[in-house]
């Protein structure tokens, strides 16, 4: 490894170095903590031949590279979050050395403490809702018929199909809103995320809700139960629940 930098995974408090040693960072590197006045930056050493400015922008276009780095980043963040209040950092935050890492902790200390206070004792839950099957489209009748009867029949078919599609879309949207409203009541904070494309997720059903909820650890059973109740209330939709996640979606510093 030529020139090296310090890759920052997360900000935390009070993590036992022995427990950090159980985690493996990017390229199998040792995971360490850099401390400044009670704040810990969770870091590991990376080569700038891979994480330099030019190299990074190139690598970020490579799904295999991104897959590995994103998963490792997530595993380290999860590993720390399972042990202490943790604020994840966005992917690819790289400093030149520990002094530079400490200067970030010093500069952002009040904001970082605020984020840690917000996520402490809480976890993020991910909920996705998928609509039931979309009504089959009427077979495309491309040929133009001049016979009045078939034209009228076509229009009727067409209208019926459009109505069915609109009805299905409205029902799916209403169900998604209901799930989100109900779960928001069981969470400290809630966020709707962008809907995911089926080509990335491999899902055939249409996603109608992709949301994250910040939930007190003591209320996670209640949150699970609320999700189950919503499944019963909306039998046509599929409601997926995953978690607990580190509080990625609630770690932004500019929030109150």
């Amino acid at each position: 490894m030529g020139e090296a930098g310090r890759y920052m995974y997360a900000i935390s408090r009070w993590v036992d170095p022995a427990e950090l040693a159980e985690l493996r960072g990017l390229g199998g590197a040792e995971v360490q903590a850099v401390e400044h006045e009670g704040l810990l930056a969770i870091v590991s050493t990376v080569g700038l031949d891979e994480f330099g400015e030019d190299e990074l922008s190139e690598h970020l276009q490579d799904l295999d590279w991104l897959d590995t780095v994103a998963r490792t980043h997530h595993e380290v963040v999860s590993g720390v979050a399972s042990r202490a209040p943790t604020a994840p950092l966005r992917l690819a935050t790289v400093c030149m050395d520990d002094a530079s890492v400490r200067s970030r902790l010093a500069r952002w200390a009040p904001d970082l403490r605020q984020v840690l206070d917000r996520v402490a004792g809480r976890a993020e839950w991910s909920v996705k809702v998928f609509a039931g099957p979309i009504p089959e489209p009427v077979p495309a009748a491309r040929e133009v018929s001049t016979a009045p009867g078939s034209g009228a029949a076509y229009l009727a078919r067409r209208k019926a199909h459009v109505d069915r599609l609109k009805g299905a879309a409205e029902q799916a949207a209403t169900a998604a809103d209901d799930v989100h409203d109900e779960l928001t009541r069981h969470a400290t904070a809630a966020r709707r995320l962008a809907l995911q494309d089926g080509r990335l997720t491999g899902e055939e059903a249409t996603m109608t809700l992709n949301a994250a909820y910040l939930v007190d650890s003591s209320a996670s059973d209640e949150f699970r139960a609320a999700t189950q109740a919503l499944r019963d209330r909306h039998p046509d939709e599929r409601v997926d629940l995953t978690g607990p996640w580190p509080a990625y979606s609630f770690a932004a510093m500019d929030e109150t």
């Binding site: 993590v15 700038l48 970020l60 997530h74 994840p88 935050t93 952002w108 990335l200 978690g243």
Partner: protein, 109 residues
């Protein structure tokens, strides 16, 4: 390290930590969080992840490019009535109505 770390973390933070996720997370879920969420602190290495939206990644990495996607006929976002709010259907319907009207007028005349 301060002396705080010498105490057992699990003892002092009982209930405040996140248990490890039991199920493996899928790539889309991880990407949307590690690329788009989390604390943003500028490091010494400058990289603007805001330029890299998930859609861009999907299109670029899975179908090469928008142009290529259209060549391959992957343009569901233009055709899907769920997404276009039935506008295309309405246009087609109008077209059919015009044809129907013309055919009725020619029959009468």
């Amino acid at each position: 390290m301060s002396e705080r770390t010498s105490e057992s973390l699990l003892a002092r933070n009982q209930g405040s930590a996140v248990p490890a996720a039991p199920q493996p997370a899928n790539l889309a879920d991880i990407l949307e969080r590690v690329l788009d969420k989390g604390i943003v602190i500028a490091g010494d290495i400058r990289v603007n992840l805001l330029d890299i939206e998930l859609l861009t990644i999907k299109i670029r990495l899975l179908v090469a490019s928008v142009e290529r996607a259209q060549e391959m006929g992957i343009d569901w976002w233009r055709r899907d009535p769920m997404l276009t709010d039935g506008r295309q259907d309405l246009a087609e319907e109008n077209e059919r109505l015009r044809e129907r009207l013309e055919s009725l007028e020619s029959t009468d005349g």
